[in-house]
Symmetry: C2
Subunit: 600 residues, 2 copies
């Protein structure tokens, strides 16, 4: 067994500096921003930052946990009570033997929950007309460099030029947005998931039952938020998942999601037939007290839906969904998750844990897309959404899966209609089945499209999907691919601030400010290393060409010569004359002559 | 300097066998197909194959060139004359000095051209109601496993259930499709580019002025078609481009495209001002005689268009486009390519070289997408298309570039309208500018969408775009990414045969036929190596789980247990009972317990 986790990746993103801004309404709040300094007279570019204190530059003591930024807010409301929480039992960690026990997080605190009758959830506060600190904080994050520029097609979304705390409140009150924020996760830096805000992405992690799992999983969390993951799902199964989750939560600035039925299954030794309300509700309370921010719950997999999957090419591909299908068939009873849904709401509400209503019957292949089973479940998720809202709970809805391009929009339209515009949270979708090893790409295509159509958060897919366990590089590739999809969606929706970064990078590219181009990239390190592979000399960082076209064939360079003329003179005749004398022979003196493939 | 190229990558794709089929109409034709054999009783899956004899398994003698499959067809028509071609001059190869001279292709043949007044181009034959061997051959390639299955949205395309030679003829006669096939490229395996056929992809190669360039470029061509490139553009510049091109053409089974102005610029020592009709037409004839199948010609960059680029963020990003803009300004004259376009047509027609009308003013950034300069050029390309058709030439139109998702369809719609449905051939488009190092992905998103909307061929983008010279791995990544985009588009358009491969792979996945899943993948080697990283033991190839979810959490495995019950019994009650006794505890005996991130 290993000792406590001590090392994670820290330090600023290359070329960036972490700063904190304070909203006018609440100068006491410190909202994180990543600032990219540019050369010359170019103003710095500010980008959304989900990476937490790990990119500040200083060391982070994992055994102490992150600063509890929400502590004062939660106390001041006076709506919470702390109490003697549920005692942690060996089975919570899969009853490890002595050699398997991993270290518990050193600091233990009493859990909190809402006092009887008091407002607890962000939804309840929003409906009461109260703007919480979480709303002010999250609103400020959305406004980076927000300009008047609006140019896009938002399919009925209504994106404001500037996000105000009041707008955030109204979006939450209507159910169109959520702030996943368990009262027992004070380390959280609040963020928004909703169609009228920046498209967010989720990264999945989870222990692999190796001795070093805790250190590995904490690093995986830190690594994925470093590259831009807005939330992280801990899909751990097997042993030590309670201990692992505690370490992750105490060190996570982003919302943590889980699938509680995984741990419940471990508590009944892997036999889905032995699942029942007692073990499931016990697991919910255990995780609510730890501070998990949202739960995937497959309450839409009903007994009557199971036969609808009989003729599918790939049956049921959701783990939680297949467990509940097995349970329903095995007992020939309606799902206890469906029957006890109201009780589930009562538990989640007390801690403000958000629902992520699971799509247990999502299609696992192009052949099964948009079929009766999938849409029957979606209709049930719509019913459940209304129940959860009645109970004061925040809700988002999970979506597919494998869907060809021409069937993607129907998913979004149906979800908006059936689920009252609750935020949609989709996996991909993958637009073809034939590229295992490249499913970050097959799904990135679908993710960009459904994000444009209105999906609020995209769950990443890594190159290892369908094949095995993602490693560190796979996680980074998945996150970057999904940041691309989310940003492409923000551009297409006409998010006012989205294009500022594209324009800044393209201007840097056109002006051969190579370092600025690298630093503005989603992955500055890879951009620079690719460039340096073929033009390593530092001198080349200022060269007015790259190895792709070489000096004589650099269109941007030729264009700049044309521009210089246009600026210095008026009239095409004058331009023509000057050009003949002056810039006519372009960069001929530069001897580097290498050329490369490029669309002409 | 190096000796002649001798080594290229040969041998079958893993798990596949190259076969040849003969169309009923012409049993003498041998049309290549790749057959993927599956295990058990599963029928083999046949896929489109552009890889040429290199995947047959035998050796290939590069100094002899490929078999001249079209030789007999061209002779039998009696419409061609061979003649004493233009003598190759030192400047054709950039006047290399003794140490720079590379070996010319050993076999020299007299070029052919159309006899005066005789039919030459596929368009002319199609209009005359004549079905050529090229049409029969290309039709057969499109029909692989074609079934009655039709499910998609084709935006006005009219895709037949079965492609007949007559349908091909009518599509070519209407200008909606082309078969790029220079009479001096008899080694060509004819293929179709058109909206009612499979979406094709192009890979760019080109010498990098290294001593070993010829061997490298021939290998790059062979490598890119091995992974699925349907055409290859040789964008060589610098020295020895005539010699390099000859080696590529004599060994290429796919159409080869070029941008003749690159070589013309070399002939005038890199000074765009010195370009004129004489050097350009001389270059056209040189390349027509060698057998280039299509030319990118930027005749749409007119003097009046240049000022429209003045306020762009990234100006002119097409190399050919920037040269012509410099020429127009420098001479303050209308483009000679535009003024002499009729003469250009007369040259290309005699050899049946197809036009790829270049988008010299395509947007190089999100900010410049769909602007006045881009669309003014597109309108001009529409005029030129009609001129070329009048002259009997085949035409396709090049498209952008950098375009956000919400502005992509407008490009397709305008191109169809302005250019009379001539095939669209687009670069990407890239849907955001902020991910250098990942532009195969930013552009793969746009490529899949515009392919769905109706683009006939997608020009690949590699991870090195904007940064440098793609290497062998970059070329493969670019090709696989674009095969994904093209296939996703075929699925969404409802191409009748496209889904067969997805369904076969998904069925293999569901039935844990790992080897079949790997072999059906676009890249079997990568799929297998990713799987083996975490489950290397051969035994695991039959395991009913993978390391992603582990044995207890494999949804497909659970589903199969549910299925088995359903098959063996009738009635849910019976199922339930049996399930409790029998399959209730699933795969518990398997000790492997590793779990991994996965969307639940």
């Amino acid at each position: 067994m290993t000792t406590k986790p001590t090392n994670v990746t820290t330090g600023p993103i290359t070329g960036s500096k972490k700063i904190y801004i304070s909203p006018e309404e609440r100068p006491d709040l410190r909202v994180p921003v990543r600032e990219i300094a540019l050369t010359g007279d170019e103003p710095p570019v500010r980008v959304y930052d989900a990476s937490g204190p790990y990119t500040e530059g200083g060391a982070v003591d994992l055994s102490a946990g992150l600063p509890r930024v929400r502590e004062g807010w939660l106390e001041a409301r006076g709506h919470l009570e702390s109490y003697e929480g549920r005692a942690v039992r060996p089975e919570d960690d899969g009853s490890p033997n002595a050699s398997q026990v991993l270290p518990q997080f050193p600091v233990q605190r009493r859990p909190r929950r809402g006092k009887p009758g008091a407002l607890v959830t962000q939804l309840e506060y929003a409906r009461a007309g109260i703007i919480t600190e979480e709303m002010v904080y999250a609103a400020a994050r959305e406004n980076l460099g927000r300009s008047a520029l609006v140019d896009g097609e938002s399919f009925g979304a209504s994106i404001p030029d500037v996000v105000t705390p009041e707008f955030v409140r109204s979006e939450i009150a209507s159910g169109r947005a959520i702030i996943p924020a368990n009262v027992n996760h004070p380390e959280l830096e609040p963020m928004l998931i909703g169609r009228n805000f920046l498209v967010k992405i989720n990264a999945n992690i989870g222990n692999s039952a190796l001795a070093s799992s805790i250190a590995e999983e904490v690093e995986k969390m830190v690594w994925s938020i470093r590259w831009g993951a807005d939330t992280v799902m801990d899909l751990s199964t097997g042993r030590n998942i309670h201990a692992t989750r505690e370490w992750i939560l105490r060190n996570s600035p982003v919302p943590i999601g889980t699938v509680p039925i995984y741990q419940a299954l471990e508590k009944v030794h892997g036999d889905p037939q032995k699942l029942d309300w007692e073990v499931f509700s016990d697991t919910l309370i255990e995780q609510c007290e730890q501070g998990v921010d949202y739960f995937t719950i497959h309450a839409g997999v009903r007994l009557a839906h199971v036969p609808l999957t009989a003729n599918r090419v790939t049956g049921i591909v959701s783990r939680g969904g297949s467990m509940m299908a097995a349970w329903c068939l095995g007992h020939h009873r309606e799902s206890f998750l469906y029957e006890r849904f109201g009780d589930i709401c009562d538990i989640l509400r007390k801690y403000d844990v958000s629902f992520s209503l699971g799509d247990g019957l999502r299609p696992g292949s192009i052949a099964d897309a948009n079929d009766a089973a999938q849409f029957a479940e979606l209709t049930t998720l719509g019913e459940l959404t209304k129940v959860a809202w009645e109970k004061g709970c925040q809700v988002m809805i999970e979506g597919p899966g494998h869907v060809p391009m021409h069937k993607i929009k129907a998913n979004m339209d149906k979800q908006l209609r059936e689920c009252g515009e609750a935020p949609f949270y989709t996996l991909g979708p993958l637009t073809t089945d034939i590229a295992p090893g490249y499913d970050h790409i097959t799904s990135g295509i679908g993710a960009a499209m459904i994000g444009w159509f209105g999906t609020a958060m995209l769950c990443y897919v890594t190159p290892k999907e369908h094949l095995g366990l993602p490693d560190r590089d796979d996680v980074k590739t998945g996150v970057i691919t999904y940041k691309i999809a989310a940003h492409a969606a923000d551009l297409a929706k006409g998010h006012p601030a989205a294009r500022l970064r594209d324009d800044a990078l393209s201007k840097a590219r056109f002006e051969f400010r190579w370092i600025d181009q690298f630093n503005l990239a989603l992955d500055p390190d890879t951009a620079r290393s690719f460039h340096d592979e073929t033009l390593p000399k530092d001198a080349q960082k200022t060269a007015h060409f790259c190895s792709m076209c070489g000096p004589k064939f650099c269109s941007m360079s030729i264009t700049q010569d044309v521009r210089r003329l246009a600026e210095r003179t008026a009239g095409l005749e004058a331009k023509a004359a000057e050009f003949r004398e002056g810039g006519g022979r372009i960069h001929m003196k530069i001897v580097d002559d290498q050329k490369a493939p490029s669309a002409e």
